[in-house]
């Protein structure tokens, strides 16, 4: 009952989740609510538990305790692929590409509802082929967006680290997400392209009403695009608020930003 009430305002409702691996507790009693079509950044030093948090949200690891509600539905105990099908899609820190598929194939495999993904689809070649044509068109559009068009038919294994990030991001978009979890999408990408990507993300938010939760190491990069910043350290949330308030928060300065601000 409670979940249906919050449905209108929130897409994701994280309630007191924790995970432990033996003695290690990467995420401890974390709670937050994400509003529809918002843009939230998670920042924090290395080892703070940000990626571990994403692993829980995407179902790749299971919570030891707590609940995760996505669009009114408890998802903390269902399979990762089912969570993705519901529209909660993630990318990976360091970007994972399928090296022995071409760049275009990497994207095309992500499209939802492909009749050819089903073995029975083998007996319906016409439906399969027309879907493939559309998938390819969409893939080419996405590649154009991130400037990878000329690599479309090369193995993804030849891409550089930065290019793999772009591919990873484009691939997640191909899966028709309601909400995207991006794990450090800008690390290792050159500043001009970061600017361009930020524009792309802002446009996606506006045009496709995607909700964003993004991990970033550097607060400055996401200052302008975020309407909220969550700061993690040692598996816990230590600050949560408007970007500006985070920038001035003493706790955050101590835990994380102190040295950086002195530099600049």
């Amino acid at each position: 009952m409670e979940t249906t009430k919050t449905l209108n305002s929130s897409v994701l409702d994280v309630r007191n989740i924790s995970v432990s691996f033996g003695g290690v507790k990467p995420v401890q009693d974390v709670s937050f609510t994400i509003k529809e079509n918002s843009f939230t950044s998670v920042i924090g030093p290395n080892g703070a538990g940000k990626t571990s948090l994403f692993n829980l949200l995407s179902g790749m690891n299971k919570v030891s305790s707590g609940e995760i509600i996505f669009m009114g539905e408890a998802i903390h105990s269902i399979h990762a692929h089912k969570i993705a099908q519901k529209g909660l899609v993630r990318t990976f820190q360091g970007a994972k590409v399928i090296r022995r598929l071409t760049v275009a194939e990497n994207l095309m495999m992500a499209v939802k509802g492909n009749p050819g993904d089903n073995l029975l689809g083998f007996f319906n070649p016409r439906a399969r082929k027309s879907f493939e044509v559309k998938a390819r068109e969409e893939a080419m559009r996405r590649l154009d967006q991130v400037g990878l068009t000329k690599f479309a038919d090369e193995y993804a294994g030849i891409l550089s680290g930065g290019q793999r990030k772009l591919l990873d991001l484009s691939r997640a978009l191909m899966a028709d997400p309601k909400m995207l979890l991006l794990d450090e999408p800008f690390a290792g990408v050159n500043p001009t392209l970061v600017e361009k990507l930020l524009t792309v993300l802002a446009a996606l938010r506006k045009e496709q009403s995607i909700t964003f939760l993004l991990i970033e190491h550097d607060l400055e990069t996401v200052m302008n695009i975020s309407d909220r910043v969550i700061v993690m350290a040692d598996g816990k949330i230590i600050a949560d608020g408007l970007p500006k308030s985070i920038y001035e928060n003493d706790l955050v300065i101590d835990a994380y930003l102190g040295s950086r601000r002195k530099d600049s």
């Binding site: 399979h79 993705a84 089903n118 030849i158 997640a172």
Partner: protein
């Protein structure tokens, strides 16, 4: 040495190579597309072959229904193997699959009253006392042989008729499998070969894809069992030793695991190696006893494969670039 130039022997080898080729099609889709290392594939062929023999001899089924049952049972056992062990990581699955094939063989060995045990299918108890199961396919083989008579002007051997059946089917199966490998289903499967997390994060049920692949491969193993059972007309447990699975792997490695069409030539190449190494009886090898030469033969086949792997790790037909991508 005389047999070396005898066409009859090579025709037999060709028929056998085609059957091994069909057998290796199962490994190809499992490993070459899905990255699943199955070292128990021979179990599927054994199950299907024995199902046919038992159903026809003991229960007097028609060969064709028995063949269908054999392939279905092989597929079913593939599903069972997958459901119990496919969630294990690659290496552990490989070990479990060897154990699976051994269980099948031991079961056949020790269920005398059904399978004939050590004595093979000749000892299967039959209501009419007639332990043969190939009457239906033999009609077809004879028919082919009769048509060939005016062409080759001689009695065509059973092996030649088998070649003319096995190889077109092998071609058809390759074509079907290569069609399947062009679908988006196969694309997802190829992704699972490298990484579980990416397809999972995109909503693909990795386990389902793997299980389906294991079953399809088992169907090819079962089909090979149908042809095998006709070719030899009697079966024994020692026909289905682990080495048979490795012969299938050799063909696959020769072809290049991702190249399904390469299996056609690789099977012939394997047949030549397999046949030619039988004739290693000249000096100084003639000093060895015949069981020792049998070992030498397996050793030599292995050696050729190793050399090939060093020179062409992608197989005869694979793309080298695929092997070196990081």
């Amino acid at each position: 040495m005389e047999a070396f130039i005898q066409p009859g022997f090579w025709i037999f080898v060709l028929a056998l190579a085609g059957i091994y080729g069909i057998f290796s099609l199962g490994l190809q889709i499992q490993y070459g597309v899905g990255g699943i290392m199955n070292f128990g594939h021979v179990g599927m062929m054994a199950v299907s072959g024995y199902t046919i023999a038992v159903l026809v001899i003991k229960y007097e089924w028609s060969f064709w229904w028995a063949a269908l049952a054999g392939v279905i049972l092989a597929a079913f056992l593939g599903a069972l193997l997958g459901l119990t062990t496919l969630r294990l990581s690659g290496d552990y699955f490989a070990i479990a699959s060897i154990a699976f094939a051994e269980i099948v063989r031991y079961w056949i060995l020790n269920t005398d009253n059904v399978t004939g045990g050590t004595q093979g299918t000749l000892a299967i108890p039959s209501p009419n006392g007639f332990a043969s199961y190939t009457d239906k396919p033999d009609v077809i083989l004879t028919w082919i042989s009769d048509r060939l008579y005016p062409i080759i002007g001689d009695e065509a051997s059973r092996d030649l008729s088998m070649v003319l059946i096995v190889w077109p089917f092998f071609g058809l199966f390759i074509w079907l499998s290569s069609r399947l490998q062009k679908t988006s289903w196969a694309r997802v499967l190829r992704a699972t070969r490298e990484d579980d997390d990416v397809p999972r994060s995109l909503g693909k049920n990795v386990f389902r894809f793997r299980l389906q692949t294991l079953i399809i491969g088992s169907v090819f193993g079962g089909l090979a069992g149908v042809f095998w059972s006709v070719q030899f007309a009697l079966l024994a447990p020692e026909d289905f030793l682990r080495i048979v699975t490795f012969y299938g792997w050799m063909i696959l490695i020769l072809a290049g695991a991702t190249r399904v069409k390469g299996l056609f030539v690789a099977a012939i190449f394997f047949g030549f190696l397999y046949g030619a190494t039988r004739f290693l009886e000249f000096w100084p090898l003639s000093l060895l006893s015949s069981p020792e030469r049998a070992y030498l033969r397996v050793f030599l086949i292995g050696l050729v494969i190793v050399l090939l792997m060093v020179k062409r790790p992608q197989g005869l037909f694979g793309k080298r670039q695929e092997m070196i991508l990081e």
